[in-house]
Symmetry: C2
Subunit: 220 residues, 2 copies
DNA sequence: ATAACTATGTAACGCTGTTCTATAAAAGTC
DNA sequence: GACTTTTATAGAACAGCGTTACATAGTTAT
């Protein structure tokens, strides 16, 4: 008698490790408790930072007992995983929203948006890429959303390459180079380790360096 | 509170001229307890990782009570700061040990050594640059040793620029670009996020891209 | 020898993530 | 509608963490 009604509407019911079929048929007093919980978790993360993101704090923020975090999200791991997915989705959206008159402009716009996302969401970036909350990418859902963000960057590179501004046999490798570089730049900036006076200018200079270094030989 | 004599690097230096104000007048039963404590701390870090680096574990490793970590190193913060200084000193040594027939070779050798340091000391790199153990760079000692490592990288850039392979008005900014890029590359590699099959090859390609992008216009 | 001082070890506090258990409420069955 | 079964909940409790308090032991100064 396992009815898979699931009444979702909340596709964000990620919580991979725990509660695989947990929401099978329970009473579901308020079907979107998980989303409220996630909203509370995000509020705590943004307000208190990764160090303040505790099970008890999130439960209190949501007005429930700490056990609810385990029943609904699979403990702190599930909580963090759900936040990671949110973060990577937003990062992907930032990279996908590139605009500009030509492929070159879109290249630089993507780089600019990446940095702006990180600076606007430092705590998200910290849990996504720093070990602010220790985690791996073993959760398939998290890994998938992270790779989706990377694919958005690959698409930007493909557009730029199609316009002739980038020449390389492996565009995925080019995208990886760019990702490494811009990630390092924002990571160091978030930790206050940029040694130049104008981090924004140095960031633009890095994008210029990458663009020049990736340009095809004739233009080089 | 902070009295960590960073007499690191030369393990044979007996505490003759050292033990400055630390042994103000106390009994100083064994003057190098602090170094033994640091050695124990490093052993725990390497063996257990940042998550296993607890005050109790280090104290047990050193054969003392947890209180000793507070009396000798100023609690966990002092412990981590001392390890950070060790890590940055080694990173600086790695960058300083660049070799090669010419400036170009030294440029790539420095990049190679940076990555090798990170891959050989992942836990050190994690506490230095990731937020594996939350910390800032407010401690002047830590900040100074970190900047010393960066200055080693600046020197490599200066040598490369003197040879005519790099042309830029601000070599510090160039060094910052390179640091950002290679830090991002090794940070992502340590987290298993390199999307290409051969991370080493992609890393070399990134160095090539940087070198090409920083080359003076005529050679470009 | 006596007194002052300091470093140490034991125990405890508050915090964390997590687990256990009893309770209460919903769903299924007659 | 009444009864049984299932399940989520709340509260307390456990082990671990960093840290602190306090009494003790040992060294130094007078």
């Amino acid at each position: 008698m396992f009815r898979m009604d699931e009444t979702d509407g909340v596709p964000g019911s990620v919580c991979g490790p725990a509660a695989p079929a947990a929401a099978r048929r329970g009473r579901t007093p308020s079907a979107d408790v998980e989303r409220e919980l996630l909203t509370a978790a995000e509020a705590v993360l943004v307000r208190e930072g990764p160090g303040g993101l505790t099970v008890r704090a999130v439960a209190t923020e949501a007005g429930i007992a700490p056990m609810g975090v385990y029943n609904r999200l699979g403990g702190k791991d599930g909580l963090v995983d759900a936040l990671l997915i949110r973060g990577f989705d937003r990062l992907r959206a930032a990279c996908d929203a590139t605009a500009g008159p030509d492929a070159t402009a879109r290249f630089f716009d993507a780089g600019r948006r990446y940095r702006e996302f990180a600076l606007a969401n430092p705590h998200f970036y910290a849990i996504m890429f720093e070990d602010a909350i220790p985690h791996g990418f073993d959760n398939p859902d998290v890994a998938e959303h992270a790779q989706a963000a990377f694919r958005a960057l690959v698409r930007v590179v493909e557009v730029t390459a199609a316009a002739g501004a980038i020449a390389a046999p492996d565009l995925v490798e080019v995208a990886q180079q760019i990702w490494s570089a811009i990630h390092g730049a924002v990571a160091l900036e978030l930790k206050g380790l940029i040694q130049t006076e104008d981090p924004a200018a140095t960031y633009r200079a890095l994008l210029d360096t990458l663009f020049q270094g990736l340009a095809p030989p004739p233009a080089r």
